[in-house]
C-alpha cells in the first residue's frame, strides 16, 4: 500500500528485483532453424495423425474384422460417433509418440547444454533416460490432475461424465505439461518463468510456451459451441474442447516457430550491439504487457 520509496524497504525490493528480473538466459546465437522446423513438423504430423488417422484406421480395421460394412461413413466421423473409444486410442498413441519425441528433445537439450553454458536446472543433464521418463510421467500425471480440476472448476461434472473429462485432461496434459517436462524437469522456477511470467528463454521453451498456451486457450474456446442447440455429434462433451485444443495447438506450433525466428533476430541484434538496452527493454515491454 505504501506509495513512497524509502530506504527501509530498499533491501527487500532489491531482492525482489533480482528475483523478478532474472530473466531467461539469452538465446543461443546459432539458430537451429532446420531442427526447430523439423520438430514442429513432427509435432503437427503426430497430433494430426493421433487425433484423426489412427483412431479412424483402427476403427475401420476392427469394423472390417467384425463385419463387411460401409466403412466410409465411419471413417469420417469416428471422433464424433464414438468419442470415448476413439479418444482412448488417441491418448495411447499420443502418449507413446510424445514420449519418443520428448526423449529426443531431452537428449538434444542435454547435449547442447553440455556443450554450451550451464543449464539452470540442477541434475537434469546427468540423469539417465529412465529417471527422466519417471519425472516426466509424474509431471504429466500432476498436469492431468490440474487440468481435470480446472475442467471441473469450469463447470464439468464432478461425477457426471468424469471419464470424458479425464480424457480431456489427459489430452491437454499430453499437449502441454508432458512434452515440456522432458526439457524442464522438476525445475519449478523455470516453469513459473515460462508460463506465468511469459518469458521463455530458449527457442524450445518458446515453442512449448506457444503450443501449451494455445492448446489451453483452444480448449477454452472450444467449449463455446457446447450449449448450442444444433444437435451435432461433435457437440458431445469433450469433443469441442479436444478439437479446439488440437486446432490451436497446430496454430501454436506455427506461432512458436515464428516467435523463435523473432527471438533469433533480437538476439542477433543484441550481439551486434544495436539495441544496447535490449534486455531491459524486453523486460519493460513484458511488464507493460503484464499490466
Amino acid at each position: 500500500m505504501q506509495r513512497t520509496t524509502t530506504t527501509a524497504t530498499r533491501q527487500g525490493l532489491d531482492k525482489v528485483a533480482t528475483e523478478g528480473s532474472r530473466t531467461a538466459p539469452t538465446a543461443q546465437p546459432t539458430y537451429p532453424l532446420l531442427k526447430m522446423t523439423l520438430v514442429a513438423m513432427c509435432n503437427l504430423t503426430m497430433i494430426y495423425s493421433t487425433l484423426i488417422w489412427i483412431p479412424t484406421w483402427l476403427n475401420s480395421y476392427t469394423h472390417q474384422a467384425d463385419q463387411k460394412q460401409d466403412t466410409t461413413n465411419n471413417n469420417s466421423t469416428t471422433l464424433q460417433n464414438a468419442p470415448l473409444p476413439s479418444l482412448s486410442w488417441t491418448l495411447v498413441t499420443l502418449f507413446g509418440l510424445q514420449t519418443v519425441l520428448g526423449l529426443v528433445q531431452w537428449s538434444l537439450h542435454s547435449s547442447s547444454n553440455k556443450g554450451a553454458k550451464k543449464s539452470s536446472k540442477g541434475g537434469g543433464s546427468s540423469s539417465s533416460v529412465f529417471s527422466v521418463l519417471n519425472t516426466s510421467i509424474a509431471i504429466g500425471a500432476v498436469g492431468t490432475l490440474i487440468c481435470h480440476v480446472f475442467a471441473v472448476l469450469f463447470g464439468a461434472g464432478i461425477f457426471n461424465q468424469a471419464k470424458e473429462t479425464s480424457q480431456l485432461a489427459v489430452y491437454l496434459s499430453l499437449l502441454t505439461f508432458y512434452p515440456a517436462s522432458f526439457v524442464l524437469g522438476t525445475d519449478l522456477k523455470s516453469w513459473l518463468r515460462i508460463f506465468v511470467h511469459n518469458s521463455p528463454g530458449t527457442y524450445t521453451e518458446a515453442a512449448f510456451y506457444c503450443q501449451g498456451m494455445m492448446a489451453i486457450f483452444g480448449a477454452w474456446l472450444g467449449s463455446i459451441v457446447i450449449p448450442l442447440d444444433w444437435d451435432r455429434p461433435w457437440q458431445a462433451w469433450p469433443v469441442p474442447c479436444v478439437l479446439g485444443a488440437f486446432m490451436f495447438y497446430c496454430i501454436g506450433t506455427v506461432v512458436g516457430l515464428v516467435v523463435s525466428v523473432v527471438m533469433r533476430q533480437r538476439a542477433a541484434r543484441n550481439e551486434f550491439g544495436i539495441g544496447s538496452g535490449a534486455g531491459t527493454a524486453q523486460a519493460g515491454s513484458k511488464k507493460n504487457k503484464s499490466q
Binding site: T4, T5, T9, S223, D229, S290
Partner: protein, 1167 residues
Amino acid sequence: MAQRTPSLGQAQAQASAIPSPATLRSRTTATTTSQRTTATATTTAKPNGPKGPASASATQKTATKERAPSIRLAKLLLWVFLVHVGAIYLFTRGFLLSRSVLDSKSECSNTNMDESIFTDHRLDSSNRCWYPQQYKKAVVIVIDALRFDFVVPHHDLPDDEQEPYYLNKLPVIHKLLEEQPDNTLVYQFVADPPTTTLQRLKALTTGTLPTIIDAGSNFASSALKEDNWLAQFESSRGQDRILFMGDDTWTGLFPSVLSTNNSHAFPSLDTHDLDTLDNGVIKALGPALEDPSKWDLLIAHFLGVDHCGHTYGPNDPHMAVKLEQMNDQLEKVLASVSDDTLVVIMGDHGMNGHGDHGGDSDDEVEAGMVIYSKRKLIDASLLDQFSLGDTLRYTKPVGGNVYRTVQQIDLVPTLSLLLGLPIPFNNLGSVIPELFLSAKDPKNAIRDLLRATRLNAAQVATYFESYMELHPTSDIALAVEMEFGELFERAETFMRELGQDPKAKTEDLATALKLYSEYLRTSLSSCKRIWAHFDVPLMAAGGGVLLASCFCLLLHITIYRAVGMPPSLERFLAGGTLLGIALARHLKPLLLKIETVQESSLGLVDIMIFSMSTFSIAGFLLCLALNAKSFAKKESWNVFRLIRWPPLSGFLACLFIFVNCLIFASNSYIVHESTFIIGFLQTFGVIGLLFSLRVPDKAARIKAVILVLSFMTMTRVLSTSTVCREEQGDLCSPTFYASAQQSVPSQWSLVMLVGSGAITPYLIRRLLSSSKSMNGIALLWVDYGLRIGIILGTLYAVLDFEGSKSDGTRAATTGNNANAFEPLLGGMSAGGQYLWIKTTLVRIAFGFALIIGPAAWWTNPLCMDIQTVEEPVAIDGGNRKPSGSSSTAPATQRKIYILGYANAFGASYYMALTMMFLFVILTQKPLGTIVLSVGLAQISCLVELVDIWRDADFAVWQQGVIARIQAETQASVENSDGIAAAVSIQSAAQAEQAKAPTLNLLLPTVVLSLMGNLFFFATGHQATLSSIQWLSAFIGVPTLNYFFSPILVIVNTLGPFILCAMALPLVVLWQMPPKANKLGIVVLFPELTRLCLMMMMHQSLVLVANMFFTGGMFRRHLMVWKVFAPRFMLQASALLMMDLVLVTVTVLVVLSRVIREVSTVLSIRVV
C-alpha cells in the same frame, strides 16, 4: 503484533521526522498486511498543542466542503439512471404487445348478418337471441392449475415405478368417460401465455388474446371493460341468477356483476394454506347445489390445487389429497345437476414441474376441460358422417388415449350460444363443433352447427371491421385485407349461392362449414402473430438513447480517468434536459415528417422523454468537449490514449462485456446463461491466478493464490445450486428444491443453513480482525446484530419448513421424514401456530437489518479505535524531535495507535454492506441464504485480491523506479559529489511519485457485475416469469400487503444485483488507507466515479445487446416470448435496480457518510 508495530512506527517517525499538520502520520512502508493495519503517531505529553484550535477549525471547514464530491457523483449517476429509465420506457412501449381494446358490446337484436337462411326451422324458441338457447343453466367449475394429465385416466403406467401423486386422482371423470361416453366430452384446453390466473379469466370470459404487459397487474386486478359473456348473462337474466364462489380475482374483474349479494369471494393471494379457500367454496357450494332454483349460472373457483403446486410442487402427497378432495366435490356436483344444465369443469392453466406457471411451456399451457350434461351431448357417428375430422385437432396419446384439443377462448362463443347469449364483441374464438351437433335431431345437426359457426364468423368479421375503422393503418387491418378478410367473403358468397334451399346437400353444408372455420382459424393465428405488435421507431429510439448513454460513459471512463468529473457537468446535464423539455413540442412535427415514424404511436410524452435524453446526452458530450482542452494542458492527455491498445486488464474487461453481449445472439446461450457466467468468472480466476503468481512478495503471493483458488471453488460450488428451466433439458439437474417436482427446500439445505449461519459472522470477524478493524460498530454489529439477525432468519426458515410439512394431512409420509429439528419443536403441532411466531421472529430480524443496524451505523460508522501507550523517550540517538516538544522534553512519550487505520474506509463500508446482506438473505429461501453467504465471502475474496494486486503492482513499479534512480546515481556519483546526487535522487523520487501507477480496476468491476448474475441463478432464479418466488411476498407479512409484499418479492429476485452494486466501492476502498498527500487530500472519487460508471455501462451495454437482438433481429423469432423477452425484462429490471442502488444507497447514503466521518476524524479531505 501490538508489541512489534510500535517499534517499527517509532523508527519510522524518527527516520522521516516530518510532523504532519494533523499530528497524525501514517507509516509509509509496509511489507505485510498485518503490519500496516495500525498507524502510529508520536506526540508530546501535552495534549493541547498550539495547533489544536487551528486544526479543529480546519476540520470544520473541510467538513462542510466534503459533501460536494459524493453529491456530485450522485448527481451524475442519477442522470445516468434517469436516462436509463427513459430509454427502457421508450423501448418497452414499442416492444411489449399492445392491443387496443374496443368497448363495443354485442347486442341480442343485431347479429350483423343475414339470418334469413335459417329462418325455416325452430321458430318455436321463445327465448330467442342469436342462437336458440340450448341449456337453461350452467355450472362452471374452475379448478386452478388443473393440468390436462391430472384429468385423464392413465392406465399404462409401468408397475415398478411409483405412480406420481397427481395422476388418476379424479376417478369421477374416468367413470363418466366409461359409463356415459355420450354425455361427457374431455378436451385438452390450450391457454395462451401468459398463464396467470387473471389473464386466463379475462380470456375465458371475453375470448380475447392477452397482452404481455397485463401479466404484471395480477396483484391488483382491475375491472374488465371489454364485452364478456358474464356481463351478457347478467343483462339477459339478471344479477341474482348468478351465483359465484371462490377466488376474489373474479370479483375484482367483474365488480358490477358479482356483488356481495351473489358471490362468496375469498382472498386468493393472501391464502397460505391449501384449504381455507376451498373449504369456503365447499361450504357455499353445498347449499347452492341443494337448491338449484336460485341460480342459472353457478361459478365455483377452487384454488387449492394451484396453491399446492406453488408450495409443494405437483408430485407431492398434498397434491393427491387435494385432487381427491376435488374429486368428491365434482361427484356431488355431477350427481345433483338437472337435465338442462351444462357442466363445465376446467383448469385455467396448467403448471410446470415445480408447480409454477406463467410461462408458455406445454405443461403450463395445457389445462384440462370436461363438459358434461345429463342430456346426450353427442352422437359420435355424426362427426364421422360430416367428415369434420380435418378441421379438428387432436392431442398426442395421453394415458393410452387421444383427446380433442381446443383453444381456451373457444369456450367463449360456445358457452354464449349454448346459453342463448350473444357472443362477446371482441371474441376471437370459434365454437366447439361437437356441442352444436345436437344429438336429439341428427337430421338437422349440420345445419345447427353451420348456423352457430356462421354467427361466430360474422361476429369476428364485425370485430375486425370496427377495429379497422379505428386503426386503419395497423398491422391487423393490413392482415385483414391481405390474408384472411377474403376468406369470410368467400364463405358468405358460397352460403348465399346455397341459398335457402332446405334440401341442400350435406356435403355442401359441410363445405360451407369448413370455409367458415378456416376463416376463424386463420384470423386467430394471424392475430396471435401480429398482436405482438412492435413499434419499431420507439424501440429504435429507446435502444439508441441507451447506446448513446453507454458511449458517454465510455468516454468518461477512458478520458477522465485521473481527473474525475469535469466542472459544471451538472449544469450542462440540467440545461440539456430543460432544453429537451422546451423543444419537445417543436420536435414533434419534425419527427413526424420522417416516413417510418408516422406509423408508430408516438405520443408527446415519448417525444419529450426522447428529446430530454438526447439533449442531456448532447450536453454531456459538449461539456466533455469543452473541458477536454483544459485537461489536455493539465495532464498529459493526448488523443493517442484513445487509440492505444488498452492495458490487459482493461482489455479483458472489454472482452468480457463484448462476449456477455454476444450471449443474446442465440437463444441457446440465453438458456444456458448460468453456465456461461461460470465460464466468465473462472476465466477471470485463471487470469487472476497468473496475476497472483507474479506477485513479488512471497507471503502475499501465497495468500493471493489461496484467495484465487477459493474464489474459483466458490464459483463452482455456487453453480451447483440450480433451478432448471425447461429448455435446459438434460444438461441441467435441479438442486435448489428438494426435488424437480417440488418447491420446498430440502432438509440438507436447512442443515447447511444452520452451519452457514454460524460460520458467516465468524468469517466476517476474521476478515475485519486481519486489518485490525474489529472496533467500534463492528464489535456490536458483527457479534450481536448480525448474528442475532442470522439466527432469527434461520429459525424462521426452520419453522417455515416444519410448518409447511405438518400443514395439511401428510399422514402417509410422515414416517420417513424424521427431521433433526422435530424434537425441538415437538410441542407445536399445527402449521397455523407457527405463523405468529415466525412472523414475529422475521420481523425482529428485519428490524435489525433495516432499523437498528443502520441507526447504530449512522451514529458511529467508523471501525477505528485509539490505543495509547506510554513509552520512555529514546533521546540518545540525537534525533530531531517534532517541533514544539523541544523546550519541555518529557520523560515519557505518548504513542497513539489508530487501530483499523489502514482499512478505515473499507471496514466501515463493509459494515453497511453486511446490513444490506442481512436484509437480502432474510427474503431468500434457505439455499438462497447459503448461496448469498458464500457470495459475500466471494466478494470479500475479490476485494482482498484487488488489494494484494494493487500492492504488488506498486511494488513492481517502485522497484523499477529504484533501479533507474540507482543507475542514474551511479552515473552522477562518478561526475559530481554525493550530496548533489542525493538531492537529485530525492527530487527524482518525488517526481516519480506523482506518476505512481494505479491498478486498473475495470476488470474486477465487470467481474463483480457478473457475480450478480451468478448469484441470481444460484438463488433459485431463472430468466423466466415462472421462476419468480412469489411466496417471498409473505415473509413477515401474513396477509398480502401492497407496500411490503412487492418490495419483498423484488428484493428476493434482484437481491443478488443489489448486493453486488452495493459492494462496488469496496473494490476501491478496501484496505485503502486514508493517507493524505501534502495538501491533506486523499484522491478517491475519480476512481469511484469510473467504477460506478463502468458497472452501469456493463449492465446497460448488455441491455443494449438484448434490445438489439430481441427487438431488432429476433422479434419474429419462435422463442421471442419464451426466451428473449423474459431475459429482456430481467436485464432491464436488474439494470434499473443496480442504478438505483448505486445512486441512493451506495453513493448518497453509505459512501458519503463513510467518507465524511473518516475525513472528519482524521482531518483529511477526500476528493
